[in-house]
Symmetry: C2
DNA sequence: ACATCCACTAATGTATACATTGACAAGTTA
DNA sequence: TAACTTGTCAATGTATACATTAGTGGATGT
């Protein structure tokens, strides 16, 4: 996201120290190595990653823009916890944005390759569900949503949705074992794929909206039920 | 947006140089003092604003995140032009996001003050339309959309919509004199207000979506008709 | 014990020095 | 001429020095 990338002749991408710091910091936050509430000062982050304050500072600024950390003057950055109301905000947005994406995606001709990839992801969700491997299921589910959104071709939408998925990643992972078997979820996805293939934009939007509304309600319900107010 | 603000005892806000640079640069871009395509290097911006490279650089990074400029390595920043496909992206998003906002706003109890302010803005749109003062009408129109979105209470949604309104500001201003009289637009707004007052969330979402779809189609149509491919 | 004030200090904000690198142009070769 | 090589240098990337300021803790007085 807004990452400077300089191509070398081998096709490798040379990352600036700011990029590396950003990637590393983001990874640690998403993996919960730096749990919510963790505070880091510029100089601490710099030391942690063995760089100077400048790229450390710039990485912090990027992460703040993406909503993963908060920068309070003289307290460094703090890894933001996610509250129930955050999840409400995020799912309301994902509902509106992804259903718009489905609507746009259904108006476009897609290559067989693209459609096959989407179908393959749906199949993976079915398989992982049968195996009971919820972590793999979650990965496939996220892949489906990312693929769908990318099929809209709307770059701004893609970027915003990715950001929201990142923000809610931890919560989705932590509630995986608490949620009911997502059999209906898989059906919904298959229906959306059908609507897109049939170029029925209104139907794709409608189905996906209902799907996301259910997902959001379920998740928020879980958080309340288990009293998970700060993740 | 993501601006550090330090309160002083008098309630005044002390802005950092980065904040000032950001505000000033953004203002100049929106006012078209720095038209699309304008390039500025870090040192040029620093000199222009009589600051050092550091806050100049940070301001550029913020504006890049907001999508108003593009930073190419070794070429400084460039003020981004808006193309027809950008406007398509932006209006598809505004349609999805603002109708979500209307839907959320209609589910909330609002103070009389808030509702009166919204009605007052609708009235201003009527008045300015009668006077034929399109610039004032545009200001009222933008105010309406911002108020509506703020009434959703969804902070993330508010921030994203504001960003999109900023990105499309220039185009809206430049097409003001080309577009037909927005009488229907005012009616739509009044209908949305009614739906919100009546707590009819579905209706608010439906009306606003149609309103935005029309607005987007009209604008994109104008750009194509007058062959305005890069603004 | 408690509130208030003040000096100190640590952390950020800002400027600047230094290192790296990609763009360009002059020169070379075919 | 056109394609390719290479050296230079300007602009960014990075580190660091310096300026400013908010938070902290201790001294003071009640």
């Amino acid at each position: 996201m807004a990452v400077t990338h300089r191509q070398t002749k081998t096709g490798k991408v040379k990352l600036s120290l700011t990029d590396k710091a950003y990637n590393e910091l983001k990874r640690r936050i998403l993996d919960n190595e730096l749990p919510p509430g963790t505070q880091l000062m510029e100089s601490e982050l710099a030391e942690l990653l063995d760089i100077s304050r400048t790229p450390a500072r710039e990485a912090m600024m990027r992460l703040e823009v993406e909503g993963l950390v908060e920068v309070r003057a003289r307290h460094g950055m703090k890894v933001k916890p996610i509250s129930v109301s955050d999840m409400n905000e995020i799912y309301a947005l994902l509902t509106g944005l992804e259903s718009t994406a489905a609507w746009q995606a259904a108006q476009i001709d897609h290559s067989k390759k693209t459609l096959d990839a989407l179908r393959q992801t749906v199949k993976e969700m079915d398989d992982t569900l049968v195996n009971g491997d919820m972590k793999a299921w979650a990965a496939a589910d996220e892949a489906f949503h990312r693929q769908l959104v990318e099929m809209s071709g709307n770059q701004r939408l893609i970027q915003i949705v990715h950001r929201l998925l990142d923000q809610s990643y931890r919560v989705r992972m932590m509630t995986l074992s608490l949620r009911p078997k997502p059999a209906k979820s898989n059906e919904d996805h298959a229906d959306v794929v059908d609507a897109i293939v049939n170029k029925d934009a209104e139907e794709a939007r409608r189905i996906h909206r209902i799907h996301r509304e259910k997902a959001g309600d379920m998740l928020v319900g879980l958080l309340k039920k288990y009293n998970l107010t700060q993740l």
